[in-house]
Point group: none
Chain length 414, copies 2
Amino acid sequence: MHGILVIADGLGGRPTDTKEGKTCLEAAKTLALDELARQGALGLVDPIGPGVRPGSDTAHLSLLGYDPYEIYTGRGVFECLGIGMDVRADDICFRANFATVEARKGEYIVTDRRAGRIDSGQQDLARALNEIEPDAPGVTFEFRASTQHRGALLLRGSGLSRHVGENDPHATGKAALLFEPLDGSEEARRTASALNELVEKSHAVLGEHPVNVARASDGQAPANYILARGAADCPDIPSIESMYGVRGAVIAGGALYRGVALACGMTSITVPGATGGLDTDLRAKAEAAARALEDYDYVFVHMKGTDNAGHDQDAAAKTAFIERIDAEFFTPLLEKVDMAMTHLAFTGDHTTPIDFGDHTHEPVPVLFAGPNVMPDCTEAFGEREAGRGGLGRFSGRVLPMLLGYNNWSPKFGS
Amino acid sequence: MHGILVIADGLGGRPTDTKEGKTCLEAAKTLALDELARQGALGLVDPIGPGVRPGSDTAHLSLLGYDPYEIYTGRGVFECLGIGMDVRADDICFRANFATVEARKGEYIVTDRRAGRIDSGQQDLARALNEIEPDAPGVTFEFRASTQHRGALLLRGSGLSRHVGENDPHATGKAALLFEPLDGSEEARRTASALNELVEKSHAVLGEHPVNVARASDGQAPANYILARGAADCPDIPSIESMYGVRGAVIAGGALYRGVALACGMTSITVPGATGGLDTDLRAKAEAAARALEDYDYVFVHMKGTDNAGHDQDAAAKTAFIERIDAEFFTPLLEKVDMAMTHLAFTGDHTTPIDFGDHTHEPVPVLFAGPNVMPDCTEAFGEREAGRGGLGRFSGRVLPMLLGYNNWSPKFGS
């Protein structure tokens, strides 16, 4: 048996998404998903719990079967893992990015939080950064650049703490913040101090770097500062394999989702053309997912475009991306996979309605299909139809259910 | 008002149970239950939680209103309670049984884990066992035989621990294991050592016993060894009576279920012919349940045959047993009980599908009927129909709901 878990980020919608009172998912033409709904069963899943407005990281942890209230420490660790950094037990991890600042009266005024969405030279800048020697004894660090201005920062050393704030003012024209300790501990004070020193030194190194000199002469915003947020250490969680005895792979363009899956013990499969955006190559992902099942018991595929369109408040783009998921991912996937030997689950990690352009609390439709799934009366995949689905409403834990249909669950009790 | 809770073990099924794509429950003719569904309401209950594959003990604790993650220590204590042993706070309890071994090179090779399903002489063997004097100072023990090879073992003394393994290799042709301490404590080491000594001595006592000499000369497997597993101590839980102020009785052929109910403060009613198997006398149980309501506020009736048939992967037997539950339990029960003054709940403690032959994670249909139950649109009792039931999907706590319909619940808050 095999398992396929597909999560379309921010899939859920609201009746205000379209003029006709339909959500983008309801408005989209989804022939393959509707057929799966007829064969299988629908329900509504509260990604974390009823009335809880989820983040993407916490929602994914919950859908994969973990309790985010118990294990979540912050986003940084998943960003570090997701871009391939070697994260150890006591490392302090941050989501970090290049920004542009102007020094004014001893402060650094942020003029572009994304350094003009820099798209070349970042690796050179990162190399220069990583040559900085921290003053704090025993503390080392690594900055790694990923796509555009994005990256991650990892601090290593004894006596550090994740209980520190961030330096991102979350607005242009404002001064970069100083990292502050968030509790009274010596560790938090020491960590904040090391970070402030590091950022100060990084400005000196980046400001003079040839990449930025060239950018300035081209009239581009220099990437002369590091903003870091989402301090976290590595959650101590059992792997899916240790609990269920099966091996899984993850296919995700976005670093965060790869990072969450890696933290749960899955292996990441890189798919050329999987961008984590609306332009991602969905056919390539379907091909890779089917191939992954030759080597793994289950595969988790993540698509980000739905959420991007929702944040952009672009209903047409969200609907079109859902239609592409149906035609370019599920249709070819179902041609390659033997559904008599496979269970499949499809859902979102939260609702991103067009009117609001950010995550909301509503439950998300979920679809299960495969030989052991009790068919229900639903005939299409969408929010309203899921509300009358045979699976009812439940919280999180979609992956445990998928593995359970394959008879892979451990028994609790006897 | 009165309450009746009926749990058919492993009641739930999958669409793969029968050739027609129905579960055994859906395939069974259940006139009385269908009428109750029309009068009352259905829902789906995750015995412990969504995607959790339940054991029978943990599922029953959860359905009775307790949190098994908080209180469950192991199965042994319920087995000891269920066969009538006097369990005290620090006793260490085991599910135990007679087995047949051959001594070979200092090991005991298990040749029959059930001692030929011995069906006479067990009480004599138990008496002989209980005369053994343990070497460990201050430690006493009791072995009690129940049906066939089955029994329970209780260790008493200060400084003992439930953190010990088992000696059952769970396969024939393998050597019986030594009990091992599962943590580094002196208590666990002492307990494992006392158990190993006891089992060694028991082999000497049992091997020479006239019952086994006679079995051997008849070509029957001698009951010459004790296998014990499921180490547990007594969970410290409030009784149903202390929480709800009402008194309950349990009618169950299987020791485990009686044990769980006794741990929750119910009184056990012995019904001749209630075997805990497919051959149980369901009319006698219905009669006893109706009579119990003269002395108790509520009664919990457990039937095991559904699960036995599921473990045997025998769809015809499961369907037939469900039809007997309908015709021989519910039909006569409803003739004797005044449903205007009674609330009734019927469910299973987990799914035991035919194709897998063991517990799985799916939610189980649940039926509530009685004057305060809001009727829904369902017209038959079964998995699919329960998926569109008015009670939706929820986790555990069926007994608290039943008592709640009788207006017996304590208020949380004011």
